[in-house]
Symmetry: C2
Subunit: 156 residues, 2 copies
DNA sequence: TATTGTTATACTCTATAACTATA
DNA sequence: TATAGTTATAGAGTATAACAATA
């Protein structure tokens, strides 16, 4: 443990009032993660985190409706519309009205979108090595499991 | 393990393309956390997450400069200025120019700010029980330690 | 009457550059 | 010349309500 003085000190500030706050630690961990994402995927492939996530979900799911995306990502319906508009303008996705329920639309990857999605997925695999290189395999597994346990706790 | 079908399924979508992406799991875990924060602190005390964090840091540190806050929270200097302007308008903080380096300013809690900070801290302790009630004490400790390990990895 | 998706609006957050005052 | 902080501006994200089409 390099921080012999106190684990609650960082950037010269005592963080003891925040040491019990999970949201704070999530935000702190998110800083390097966003940085690495931007360098590896955001910048080179011109994808924001949400856009990357949408491509990944479309990549491994068929017949995805906007409603499903909205719920899975906790993004409001108007927001999903705007996000998909932008991806559609770039020729990455198309929307097809459902035959069984003509209110809803199925979102599909175009060929171009599928190629970008596969590329992004490849990069994401190596990106994670960079982010997590200070954790052992066991630690990574535990971290992921505990985060999912917190997330699963979502109502709705 | 309750999820016998597959750990990569949620909201009816296969998430296997994202199961290795730490940023995705952080974002998913952040959803219930933000919700609980808003209910317990954001709404009743009229504090955003960053504002809460600033109050906590000022609560346990003296002679904090805006530069330190900017670095610790990874928030840009202009952003810190605006955040502190708002807190100052509400009479929660004051800024005192440093005697030793007249470029920098020390940020202090007012009496009113200190009272709100103490209240927020109290609420945050009970709030965490709600967020983490599905984790054992050991799991909480491990989760916090691993998140800090990821966060500590920040350069700058 | 409820639901899916869209439009419109407004508000917040963030990033950047240009500026000041100090060092 | 570099740093701490401010101002100004534009871009991106988000939340809300009102609306259209369908169930």
């Amino acid at each position: 443990m390099p921080n012999t003085k106190s684990d609650s000190v960082a950037h010269g500030l005592d963080q003891s009032s925040l040491s019990h706050v999970l949201g704070y630690h999530l935000a702190q961990a998110d800083v390097p993660i966003k940085k690495v994402f931007f360098k590896c995927i955001g910048q080179p492939l011109q994808l924001r985190p949400v856009e990357f996530t949408i491509l990944m979900l479309l990549n491994s799911n068929e017949n995805v409706t906007q409603k499903q995306l909205s719920q899975a990502l906790a993004v409001s319906a108007p927001n999903i519309t705007i996000l998909l508009d932008r991806l559609a303008e770039r020729g990455l996705v198309t929307r097809v009205r459902s035959e069984t329920d003509r209110r809803s639309q199925h979102v599909l990857l175009t060929r171009k979108g599928a190629i970008l999605a596969r590329k992004a997925h490849e990069v994401s695999l190596t990106m994670e090595h960079e982010v997590l290189r200070h954790l052992s395999d066991g630690e990574r597994a535990i971290l992921f499991e505990l985060l999912q346990k917190v997330a699963r706790h979502r109502r709705v």
